[in-house]
Amino acid sequence: MKPTLPGHARPVIPRAPGARTVRRALLGALIGAAALAPEVGCVSIPAAEKQPILATHVADWRDEVIYQVLVDRFADGDVNNDYAVRSGSLARFQGGDWKGIEDHLDYFTSLGVTTLWISPVVKNIETDADVDSYHGYWAQDLTQVNPHFGDLASLRSMIAAAHNHGLKVVLDIVTNHMGQIFFYDINLNGHPDVYVSGTGSSSAVTRSSEYDPDFDPRGVQAQTSLGLDGRAPIIFINDPTINRVPPQPGILGTARAYHGLGRILNYDIPVQRLTGDFPGGLKDVATEDPEVRATMIDAYARWVELADFDGFRIDTVKHVEHEFWQEFSQGVRKRLAASGKHNFLMFGEAFDGNDELLGSYTVPGELDSVFYFSQHFQVFDDIFKNAHNPPSQHGTKQIEGLWRDREKYYAKVPQENGIGIAPTKALVNFLDNHDVSRFLFDAKGDKDALRNALTFLMAEQGIPCLYYGTEQDFAGGNDPANREVLWKTGFDTTGDTFRHFSKLARLRQGYLALRRGDTTVRWSTTHTGGEDDAGIFAFERAGGDAQDRYALIVFNTNAKKISSTTDNGTVMSVSLQGKTFVDVLDPLQPTFTSDAGGFLLVTVPAQSARILVPQDQVVTNL
C-alpha cells in the first residue's frame, strides 16, 4: 500500500472490480444460485406406476373375502379428478377415485376382506338423461381409463399398493353392451328424436325414443307415415363434451358390431335376452362376430397386463351366448398364463334365480364361478330378511333344497387352466349389491337379521362377497339410493356390524373348515313359528380340502324365540361322536357336547348363530 503524503488524506476512490473478479463473480453467482435452489429432481414415474410384472397373488380363491367397491363412492383421494361432481346427488358423480382406495387400504384389512372388486375402469359416456356414468357400466372406450377415477398410473399404484397389503383386485368388465353411443334413425331425418303421442283419454300416451326403441327381431325398422322403410340406420352420436363419441377400439366403432334390434321387452324370451339392447339405451354388442370376440379378449386381457388384476367380475353374463364365454374365458386364460398370471378368477353376474341357467355358465370351458343369485333370493331374501315378518319367512328347508340343486346344476370339475376349484365349491355368495336394494332396507333396519345373514355368508361354502357400506349399516333402497357415499362415515371401524364382520373374517381365516370344508346339512326345518326348531338350520363344514378340520354352524333365523336342534324328540346328529364343541363366535365360548351316538342339542338365541369347533381345534386370539 502506497504511503500517504503528510497532510493529505488518501482519497477513497472506489475501485471497480477487475476481469478475473468479474468472471469469478459470475461463476460464483451461478453456483450460488444453484446452491440456493431447493432440491429440484427430475420428474419420474414411481415404480409402482410403471408396467407391472404379472404375478399370481392368490393361492386358493376360497380363502378370499371379496369386497365390492363402487369406486366413485368409496373415497375421494384426489380433488383434481372431481369433474362434474354434484355432492349429495347420488345419480351423479360424487368424486371417489383409485387414489382414495389406495389411501384406505388399512380399512379393508381391518374389516378382514382380502379382495377388492372394483367397478369398471374404462372410459364411459359421461352422462345420459341427467344420470352420470359414475358406476362405469356405460363404456365408450375400452382402451382408456376413466379420468374421473384417475389415470393409468394411479390405477397401477392402487393395485400395487393393494398387493403389498395382501389384497387382490378384481376388475369389473362388460362385454354385453356399450354405452348410449348411437340412435336408430327411425324417421330417417338424421336427428335423434323422442316423441310422445296419444291423448291420454281416447288413446294411451306413448313415448317412443330413437335412442331406445322397442325390440324388433327384424332389427329396428325405419318408418314414416307411409309405412316401413327397412332397417333404421344406426347413427353414432358425436358429442365430445360428454364423451358421447363413436366407441373404441376398432370394430366397436362400427354398426356391424351391434345387433341393432332395440330394447329388451321380455327377459324370458331368449332371443331378446341375448340380442336386445339393455334398458337405458345400452347397445347390445354382436358378440357372435369373430372380430368382436377377438377385440373383447384383447381389450380386457390387456387391462390385466397393464395393471396386474387378479380376476374379472363379468357383467350381464346371461345376455351373451355361451359360445362367446367359451372363447372368451379360454382365450383370456391362455393369454394371461403366457404372461405369468395363473389362478385368474372369472365369475359372472347372471341376474336370475334359475339354478339351471346360472349353472350353465360354469360348464367346462366357461367361467370359474357365478354369483349365487338363487341363494340371494331364496335364502337371504326369503329367510333372513323376512325374520321381522314371520308370515313371509320361509323355512330353512328351502336352503337344503337349494344346496342340493347346487350339486345338480353347477359344474363339479374345475375349469382347465382356471382357479383349480370346482364351481360348486366356488360360487360367489352375497347378501346384496348395487343392483338390488340393501339388506337393511328390505329388512326394515333389522340389524340382528343383517348380522345373522353375515354369519351365514361367511360360514357357508363358496366365496363370500360383501357390498361396500354393509359394514356401516347402510340401508339404501334401489338404485341410486343403494350407492351411498362411504367417506361420510369417517371410515369408522368401531360399529357393531363392522366389528361383527371383522370377527367373522378372522374366524374364517383361522378355521380351514370354514373356507374349504365340504358341506353336509344336519338340520333344516319348515317351522317358522313357535316350534322347538323354528328357524333352525345347521350344517357341517368338514372334509374335502379341509382334511380333518371341522366346523358345525347352527343358525336360528327366527326373530322371536330361542330355538334348538330338536323337534318332537328328535335331536340333531353330527358326524363327530362324543366331542365337545366350542362356540367360537360367542365371546363367552360356551361348549356343547355330542353324545356317543353323535346326537347334539344346540340352543340358539333368536337371530343368532353358533360356530362350533371341536375343542381341540380351537384357535386362540382370533
Binding site: A16, P17, G18, A19, V22, A25, L26, L27, A29, L30, I31, A33, A34, A35, L36, A37, P38, E39, V40, G41, C42, V43, S44, I45, P46, E49, K50, Q51, G77, D78, V79, N80, A84, V85, R86, S87, G88, S89, R92, K99, G150, D151, L152, A153, S154, S157, L306
Partner: protein
C-alpha cells in the same frame, strides 16, 4: 442435492440443450393466460422487448421501470468564480407516439397456415403470432426535478381483419398509468406492464414480469448505482377461481339482480433492488459493466365462496391462498453494440408459482396451491462484432403443481436452448439462421416407454431480412422472409387430440413473411 445443483450450473455455463430435461405441450395452464387471440403467447405477455442491454450510465433505467436519473448537481455558489445559474426553465410538455409490433403470414407448406409448434412454456419465437401495441404518451417537465408522464398503450391481437374478414378486433389496454418523478423518486399508479429484462428470442421475462394494476415507487440511492423499486398490484381474473357474479332475487319487486358472489383479487407485492457496477476495466471494453438484481414477490388471495351453478347450485368455500417468489439476475454488458449477457434465477412457491394472469387448474386436496413450486434458471445473451452477431437464450425450468398424485400434466421439467447467429450484409441487410431445441418431460406415463412422457422439438430456420435502420440485433424495423422446420417427437405429438393434425405430423414447416418494429415505446427504451 449437490449433484443436481452442480448439474444446473454446468448446464447454464455450457448451454448444452441435451441437459434440458424438459417436455413441451400446448399452452400449459400454469403459464399466464395468453392475451386473447394470441395463442403463441402462452408463456406470458404477448409483447416482447429487445433484450435490455442496460442503458448507458447516464440513464440507468431498467426496461419499463423508469427510475429517475441522478439529480442534476447544484450550481456552484457565487464567489468562487462560478457564473450565475441561468433562470429555471418554464414547464414544458409534449405528446409522444410509440409502437411495438410484429406481423407475420405463413404457410405450413401443406396448404394450411403456419402454426406455432412450441412444446414448452417459453419456446422460440421464430413462428410467433402477430401482435401490436400502439402507445400514446404525454410527457411533462415541470421543474428539473419534477416530471410526469401518462402512458396509454393499446394492444391488438390477431386475427386481423384482412386475414379473417372479421371486423371485430380484439383489443386490450396494456398500459394506462401515470408516473411522476420527484428528484430521485419515481411513483406511478395505473395499469402497467411492469417488468425487467427479457430474453428476446424467447419473448419472455424470466425474473419479473408483472401485468398489473396497482402502483409503485422507486428511488435511486445517492450512489447513483443502486435502485430500489417496490410495487403493489391486484388482479381479479374473470373466472370461478377469483370472480363470480350470480343472479339473486331482487330485494324489491320481482325479478333477479346480479350480485358479486366471489370477489377474490390476487394481491401481489414486489420488491426489487438493482446495483450497477459501471466501467469495469476489462481488456478492450472501456464501457463494460454489470449489474446485480435481487427480487421478491408475495402473493395473497383471500378465502371466499363460489356458487356451483353448473352442477347443483351449492355454495362451495374457496380457501385462502398465498405464495412467494425470490429471484436474482446477474447482467453484464460490454457497452459496445448491445453485447450483453443476463443470467436469471427464480424460485416460487404456492400461488406465486402461477403467473397472475394464469389460473391454477390442479390443486392440493385442500383446494389450495400448497405444494406448487417453480424453479428456473435462464440465460439471455447477445454478441455483435463487425459483420457478425449472435443472439441466444435458454432456460431450465421445473414446475410442480400441488396435486397429491405423483403423476400430473402439471408436473414437468422443461427447457429451451436457441441460438440465432447472423451475418450482416452491408449496413441494411442480413441473414440470420436459428437453431433450437426444446423439451418438456411430463410426469404422466408414456405407456410405450413405461416412463415419463417426453415431448421435444428440434427446430432450424433461416431469416433473411432488410433492416432500414442499420446493422444490429435490436435494430428495427426489420422486414423478413422466414423459413423454419420443426421435427416433433412422438411425445410432442401425443399431447394433441387424435383428430388434430399435430397429433400425426412429425415435421412442421413454416414459410412466411414477417415484420417487426419498435420505436419510442415506453416498454422498450
Amino acid at each position: 442435492m449437490a449433484k443436481t445443483k452442480l448439474l444446473l450450473s454446468m448446464a447454464i455455463l455450457v448451454a448444452i440443450p441435451a441437459t434440458a430435461r424438459a417436455q413441451a405441450e400446448p399452452p400449459p395452464s400454469d403459464a399466464p393466460a395468453p392475451p386473447a387471440g394470441s395463442p403463441s403467447s402462452a408463456s406470458g405477455a404477448s409483447t416482447d422487448a429487445p433484450s435490455t442491454a442496460p442503458a448507458p450510465p447516464s440513464s440507468a433505467v431498467d426496461s419499463s421501470r423508469d427510475v429517475a436519473p441522478p439529480a442534476t448537481p447544484p450550481p456552484a455558489p457565487p464567489g468562487e468564480g462560478a457564473a450565475l445559474a441561468p433562470p429555471a426553465s418554464a414547464p414544458s410538455g409534449h405528446f409522444e407516439f410509440g409502437s411495438y409490433g410484429r406481423v407475420r403470414i405463413a404457410s405450413d407448406g401443406r396448404g394450411g397456415t403456419g402454426r406455432q409448434a412450441n412444446v414448452v412454456a417459453h419456446g422460440t419465437r421464430i413462428d410467433e403470432e402477430s401482435y401490436a401495441e400502439l402507445e400514446l404518451r404525454r410527457e411533462d417537465t415541470f421543474t428539473p426535478d419534477i416530471r410526469t408522464k401518462v402512458v396509454a398503450t393499446l394492444a391488438l391481437f390477431p386475427p386481423f381483419f384482412h386475414f379473417s374478414g372479421d371486423a371485430t378486433q380484439q383489443i386490450a389496454m396494456r398500459n394506462l398509468f401515470a408516473q411522476g418523478t420527484y428528484g430521485p423518486w419515481t411513483m406511478w399508479v395505473g395499469s402497467r406492464m411492469y417488468r425487467g429484462d427479457d430474453i428476446y428470442l424467447l419473448d419472455w421475462w424470466p425474473l419479473d414480469n408483472q401485468n398489473t394494476v396497482g402502483g409503485g415507487a422507486g428511488v435511486t440511492l445517492p450512489d447513483n448505482d443502486t435502485m430500489v423499486q417496490a410495487h403493489v398490484g391486484m388482479q381479479r381474473l374473470d373466472n370461478a377461481y377469483q370472480h363470480q357474479d350470480i343472479q339473486v332475487v331482487a330485494p324489491f319487486g320481482v325479478g333477479a339482480q346480479t350480485i358479486t358472489k366471489l370477489d377474490r383479487p390476487r394481491l401481489v407485492e414486489t420488491l426489487k433492488a438493482t446495483h450497477f457496477f459501471r466501467h469495469v476495466p476489462l481488456r478492450g471494453m472501456a464501457k463494460a459493466g454489470f449489474k446485480v438484481i435481487v427480487y421478491g414477490e408475495a402473493h395473497e388471495l383471500s378465502a371466499g365462496t363460489v356458487r356451483d351453478t353448473i352442477t347443483n347450485n351449492e355454495d362451495r368455500p374457496v380457501p385462502s391462498d398465498s405464495g412467494w417468489l425470490v429471484g436474482t439476475q446477474l447482467g453484464f454488458w460490454t457497452g459496445e453494440r448491445d453485447t450483453h449477457v443476463n443470467l436469471f434465477f427464480r424460485h416460487a412457491r404456492g400461488v406465486a408459482a402461477y403467473d397472475p394472469l394464469a389460473v391454477p387448474t390442479t390443486f392440493a386436496n385442500d383446494k389450495t396451491t400448497s405444494g406448487s413450486t417453480e424453479t428456473l434458471v435462464a440465460i439471455g445473451a447477445n454478441y455483435e462484432r463487425d459483420m457478425f452477431g449472435v443472439v441466444a437464450g435458454g432456460y431450465l425450468r421445473a414446475f410442480r403443481d400441488g396435486d397429491p398424485s405423483p403423476t400430473s400434466t402439471q408436473k414437468y421439467d422443461e427447457g429451451t436452448l436457441v441460438v440465432r447467429p447472423q451475418v450482416y450484409i452491408g449496413e441494411h441487410f442480413g441473414v440470420a439462421v436459428e437453431g433450437s431445441f426444446q423439451e418438456r418431460r411430463l410426469a404422466i406415463l408414456d405407456p410405450k416407454a413405461n416412463a415419463p412422457l417426453v415431448a421435444s422439438a428440434l427446430r432450424g430456420g433461416i431469416i433473411p431480412y432488410f433492416s432500414p435502420s442499420g446493422r444490429g440485433t435490436y435494430k428495427r424495423p426489420q422486414l423478413r422472409i422466414i423459413y423454419a422446420v420443426t421435427a416433433r417427437s412422438d411425445g410432442a405429438r401425443a399431447l394433441y387430440p387424435a383428430e388434430d393434425i399435430f397429433a400425426t405430423r412429425k415435421t412442421e414447416h413454416f414459410i412466411g413473411l414477417g415484420a417487426e418494429w419498435w420505436f419510442n415505446s415506453s416498454s422498450y427504451p
